[in-house]
Amino acid sequence: MTTLHPASVAVRSLSRSLNTGFLFFVVGIVASPGGNGTNLLSVVGLVAIGIVLGIVYEFAYYRRFRYELTDDTFDVTSGVLARRNRELPLGRVQNVDIRQNVLGRVLGIAAVHIETAGGGQTEVSLQYVDEAEARRLRRQLRDGASTDTADADETGTAVTESDAASADDETVLFDIRPHELAILSVFTIDPGASLLGGIALSFASGFDPVALFPANRLGGLPGPETGVIAIAWGLLLFVLAAWLISAVLTFTRYYGFRLTRVGDELYYERGLLQRYSGTIPLEKVQTLTITESIPFRWFGYAALSVETAGYAPGQSESRGSESAIPLADADRVAELARAIEPFGPVDLESPPRRARERYAVRYLLVVAAAVGVAFLLARYTGLIRQWYVLAALAVLAPIAAHLKWRNRGVRLDDRYILARTGFWRRTTKVVPYYRVQAVLHQATIFQRRRRLASVTADTASSASLLGRAATAHDVDTDRGLELQAVIEDRLQDRLRARQRQRSVGRWFRDGIDPTDEDSATESDGEE
């Protein structure tokens, strides 16, 4: 059994002190004796107690925390008040991530996060272990996961073999180029950054947008000095600040992004101040998503994300980081995606033309509703007068419908489903048949009017929680049923083929007589 790095007590205490110290600060303010105002001494005392409690807790946590890597499980014993014994079968490990912040880099310690499928949270986080230990754990967890149910002594030999292999088999798949990083930083809008920008600006202006308005320079402009223009000016500054912060954040986040392939695993590293690195086992890949958002698509760039059942990119920062390529030339992205999953050409079949009519009608209805609201506003309030101007938007409806229609499509490859949707943020999903969990054929009342339907191939990747499963939108109803049947057929075929392959592989490895079907399938537990 191994313990955490001793320095983790200090680092964890520091972050906990900030939390509990603040909590006790609030408690001290509220429950301060005397009644008239706060008693400084008691507040400071309470904060000190909070900090000491935090340190004691972290020390106890450190003393109680033990982990061990056995031949087929990863065991963790932890907990100060409530004890927990956790055993993680190595075959179930989906991702292993290493995270290092600035302090951690100075002290040479790192946090290791281990993800499995299922469960809402990271299953095991080791905060913190030695850098070298973190790397060792990642390597061994990976090897354990790939040799799954093999015998113990066999695992030993396998580890040394792939250790040797990992030394020279590391192929660099992707290295972010300076211009790619620059474009990414400039065009990415970080939602957190806009908040930060807003807060910074509020402080700078003393919570008064008028303070930011350079009245002396724009004196010649018409209109009320402190009215709409001041607000617009404030808004502009806010956008600028948010943009700057978000560019800096994106830059530090993706600085030095590198994706390498070691054996059957992808390994990524990124970050300027805070270092992130992690592994994605190729055999656990559920879905590939190629995203071409609108400013990037114009310049010929795309992004790639790799989803496993453990987590998907873009989830909250606390849970796994992006196992994806943030931005690269579209050709490079396509090449890389094919290196992971060798899918064929992306010539998709478009939805029928009546789908386009449907979109046009839908957009026209939206415009009509907007005009209606504007009319009501003009009729009952004095806010606007020319309500009919909005009707000009109707010109855009056919264009928007056409663009939406053009950016949708589906293709059933020999081994993959390719589905594309979205004009502003065009995503192309690549799903291997054997990853499909269920196939849904859906037709809303409006789709049925035009004999259309949407076919969704549901997978276990966590991104589809947000309704982003691979979907062929608005295909012909009968074609949809056909797609559904074909996907299901190929799923069964692929599963059978994979099972055969694995059994054969195992016979070779274990030397089991191929006629001894039962023992072969019994040891055939995991993948």
Binding site: V439, H441, Q442, T444, T456, T459
Partner: protein, 162 residues
């Protein structure tokens, strides 16, 4: 293709009525509250009747949908998969291969117990949209179904279902 037990309509109708009553109570109550002189002096006189009419219309719609739902619902245990057709407005045809079944629950709410019905829920590792519930089964049929799904899932297993 198997249909549900006709009695399930009773469950759905009751549920529809309860929900409609709650929603109707809320909007009619809100209309009453608004028309009090202290809140809105020049409130139109038609507000309360309009709210009541809306509540009744929605209740009727709910009842119709609940009735129609029975006519649409179908399921079948096919060779390799469970096939389900459902949905009044959005017609959904789901295919769940037995290989992907993680576990099968059978469930009986108080309302179902009083009407002598049961629901079987089939879970996959996919996103929530592919977990399917088959309501309106007699308890014996639910047990049978659960058992046969279990058997079929075991027979076809062999791979990590993720």
């Amino acid at each position: 293709m198997e249909r549900l037990t006709p009695r399930v309509r009773v469950v759905w109708l009751l549920l529809a009525l309860v929900r409609a009553a709650i929603f109707g109570g809320v909007i009619v109550g809100a209309a009453f509250g608004l028309t009090r002189p202290a809140v809105w002096e020049s409130a139109p006189a038609a507000l309360v009747p309009a709210a009541a009419a809306l509540a009744v219309a929605l209740a009727l719609l709910r009842i119709l949908v609940a009735w129609r739902r029975y006519g649409v619902w179908r399921f079948e245990l096919r060779d390799d998969d469970l096939y389900i057709e459902r949905g009044v407005f959005t017609r959904v045809k789901t295919v769940v291969p037995y290989v992907r079944v993680q576990h099968v629950d059978s469930r009986r709410s108080p309302l179902e117990r009083t009407t002598g019905l049961a629901t079987v829920v089939v879970y996959t590792a996919g996103s929530r949209s592919s977990d399917v519930a088959i309501p309106g089964l007699t308890p014996t049929r639910a047990e049978d179904l659960q058992e046969s799904l279990r058997q079929l899932a075991i027979e076809t297993a062999g791979e990590d279902a993720v």
